[in-house]
Point group: C3
Chain length 398, copies 3
């Protein structure tokens, strides 16, 4: 047995994650520390095997259904890559091309597309209280379909971003942190600043900051959430972050000063988002079909954003971080001052300097998704990894 | 050899279906009883093997081309699932994204997309006299292309719904009936009511009722076609139903009373469709580019429909069926009163009670399509099934 | 070893093409004669193996990314077929469905979609000076991404048509010529007429005539470029053609007379394109967002075209070719007089008589693309072909 792969299997043998089998992935905080560690480990193992030109195709046939209720490039290609790596063919449910009758139940659509679906990936992040609910409705429907003998397998949900969490993104971010700092054991006491930043666009989802504080507080780091007054995130997510920090021996604090958050930070994650209260109001207006109200709200929010143009990841601020060299993270695409907009979340020179770690951060997402699927589908993941190594099928036959 | 699979092979050995090899599937009435029995048997065999985690991938590469000239969810995913199960990758010919020149011949497009196509699935059901003609033009083109040495293989057509028949739907419906009643031998003398039902939408295709009466009359059942005056289907299809019934020892009758159709029925299939004469007029208006005329016709038809709101599958009507428990069928999505519309084809409580058989009915479609492809591509399907069992490649490698 | 396949391997053994490994395909004139011969030979070998039902799937997983900045049917399906034949799954980057931020760099998008991409196929042919530049920017980005350890493999670019060349088309055209005349050794002294032809549409890309004169002048043929005054192509491409002809012992000449070009020609390629100068002006107007200017230019160009309605491939002109039987080529779709337009590039009877060679010509494109990928991915293509023959995996398992 290849030693590199054996190390991943050994690591898995120390973890307890049996509950992930045939389960779904909504939120990182639904999962135990061991379960998250299993995801990171399997992601690394799959990447390692691909680099060794060993196929990790466990499915000979089967579909990965994607439902993107928002536009997406990164996540769409990450999901497609993950499915392909494991042998699933992506079939996109494009709601515009579909004959989904007015009033057709989600239960029906979910079952109709799932007869041969092993995975369903959903992105639905636009309206507060909607995205997660939709994902749960889909999962409940296919779980019942499976129990009632309609479906031959229970498709596994992978949350590709909802209104609450963005677990595949945040776990990719986290894997970058782990690798950058040489291991999860080196993170205790590191300071991470999740801060709001100005962007000329409006209504960006809250799921990234929420996902970040809900996940990053589990590793003993000092996590600071910074935003201008009024840009609060879900109180439930702050509560989760607080509990995580207490348990992990780190801390979770809040501030209304970007400078305070950046000071001596080891990691900074400056990113725009919409205020929670405004998003709630928007959801309500949308529910009432009040599109004039939505337009008015949009203008109001843009004006409100514009009062905080000083919230930007400048070279000056970067200098105040630990040794002036904090790791800069972003889920991409970033609003880069002078490149994608006049004034945005980050100085062009800062962004440019961090291109490699930023792209590397993004490169983990396909593997994180593949690991989530792998752990939900393999009864004994260690055994399957071993058998894949023994099968030794080349990814590229030469 | 696994006994379950052997039973399917034994069954196939009693049937004569050699003519399906390298052939197409337009209408069920083009096919002999043995040929239809072969489709049902192979569909069951493929499902059985998938349930046993045995791969039925017969294609190592190859494309399944889909052409949806109408929106579709169920059929799109059924076709994708069937192709994937056998190893074909679906490539959709989206006529909006394609550079199909004004006036480009169907012959040319058909050949251009078929260089590596093993299957072409087409849905084209909107205009009387158009859908089948289009499918036939495509088949003629690729058949000639194959004979002329342009194409290395003749792609097989699977009719995914035309203006005349909807064979993959009706055969899935039929497979539900067969399994529900414990075998085709138990169907003699059963009463099946194919009846029109009110829906607030207009212009639904006639291919489902036509396909149902054209297929279900072949099993010795008493098939009743019920609709309000003026909602006739193609006379040719009624003629086929009549002949089938005479041959199979069943009956085919017509009535203008939904109550009469439902009385003591073992199976009911209440569904809206547009009157044949109106659809013909619509096709003519469309041909003349008379869109005002089409709008006027639409209003007229909706008003005409509204005179028959009492044609609905109510709890009261269901009580009049055999033991009050007829099997309720629908191709989905149904117009459910109080759910998808104020008043529609079926009471919500009736629909809800039959969710499991309805979804099961839909679940046969991918296997029916896969069986059609399998029978068109395998010279000796029994032998191929046996070899697949011997190959014993797992669908999910663990 | 199968003798047919051995002949292709023997042929490859006489050629030097090591530089194609891990390289890209922009223009035919970037490649040596041996390299082009290798593409033709591998294309034929792959086709031969498919005809023998031997799988040529070298990828067990991996993506082929397609980016179509113009509509496409033929090229889209050719690329999909080629990828599928080798085992890659196509994932289309639909820029309309993607979350590509305003101002997001091509560098970023290119890397984000390429984590598991082995190939990127791009069609971008609308604006002078843009298409090739875009392709080069993508290649530079992923090459850097690969060197920086972001990407685990360098995706290979296949130019599916840019503003300068259309190599997959022209090499398919060339393969038709080679097979039609029984070998490349029979082409010396043959006369090929690449001529402009009238079409009621406007703004057709110049990459086909440019690609044709840039490629066809390499085989000792007498290539004539004919067009009305003002319909010049890129001077750089004419220069390449001139040099090629000198080197290959053929000739490259220009004329403003279609009749002169057709006279005694062995091969004719009559096709509409826009004047280079007009296309440059259009690009400038587009850059300035001057859409009124573009409309005015369009009208002007259509009027200019209409002065040359006599530039059409008529039966009369065909009679003047060698024995009245020149091989008629077109990249399709053609503007056929009386079929797709009132008056167009070619008489219906001429087009009809050449259907088989025309469709055959198109049928080479998937194999040309597959060969380009194969040569960029296999370190020792001869060895891989041999191993594929030994593996002897059936494409269709029976």
């Amino acid at each position: 047995m290849d030693k590199g792969l054996q190390a991943f299997i050994d690591k898995l043998n120390t973890l307890s994650f049996g509950n992930m089998y045939e389960n779904d992935f909504y939120f990182t905080w639904d999962k135990t520390d061991d379960e998250l560690a299993a995801v990171f480990t399997v992601a690394d193992a799959l990447r390692y095997m691909r680099e060794q030109n060993i196929s990790t195709k466990i499915f000979d046939s089967g579909l990965g259904i994607s439902i993107f209720r928002d536009n997406s490039t990164r996540t769409r290609f990450s999901f497609a890559s993950a499915c392909n790596l494991l042998g699933l063919e992506v079939q996109d449910l494009d709601e515009k091309k579909s004959q989904i009758a007015h009033g057709e139940t989600v239960r029906e659509t979910a079952n109709m597309v799932s007869f041969m679906a092993d995975v369903i990936g959903i992105r639905d992040d636009m309206y507060i209280g909607k995205g997660h609910t939709y994902q749960k409705t889909v999962v409940d429907a296919v779980t019942q379909g499976y129990h009632d003998g309609i479906l031959e397998q229970k498709p596994t949900l992978v949350n590709l971003q909802c209104d609450v969490d963005h677990p595949t993104q945040c776990m990719a971010d986290m894997e970058e942190i782990i690798h950058y700092f040489g291991g999860v054991e080196n993170l205790k006491g590191k300071k991470l600043a999740m801060t709001w930043a100005y962007s000329p666009s409006y209504g960006k989802p809250l799921s990234v900051p929420q996902g970040v504080i809900g996940l990053m507080t589990r590793f003993g780091m000092d996590v600071v959430l910074a935003h201008p007054e009024g840009y609060d995130v879900f109180p439930e997510c702050e509560e989760i972050a607080r509990k995580n920090a207490a348990k992990s021996g780190g801390s979770f604090t809040k501030t209304n000063s970007m400078a305070e958050a950046f000071k001596d930070a080891d990691i900074v994650y400056p990113k725009s988002w919409a205020p929670f209260a405004a998003m709630e109001k928007r959801t309500e207006l949308y529910g009432n079909g009040d599109f004039d109200g939505i337009d008015a709200l949009e203008k109001e929010l843009l004006a409100q954003n514009a009062e905080h143009k000083d919230w930007t990841c400048s070279e000056e601020l970067m200098k105040t971080t630990k040794d002036g060299k904090a790791l800069y993270l972003h889920c991409l695409p970033a609003d880069i001052s002078g490149v994608s907009c006049e004034q945005g979340e980050v100085d062009a020179s800062v962004f440019e300097r961090y291109i490699d770690p930023l792209y590397k951060e993004a490169s983990y997402k396909p593997y994180i998704i593949a690991a989530m699927i792998f752990l939900a589908k393999c009864k004994n993941p260690q055994e399957t990894l071993k058998k894949l190594a023994e099968r030794n099928q080349p990814r590229l036959f030469q």
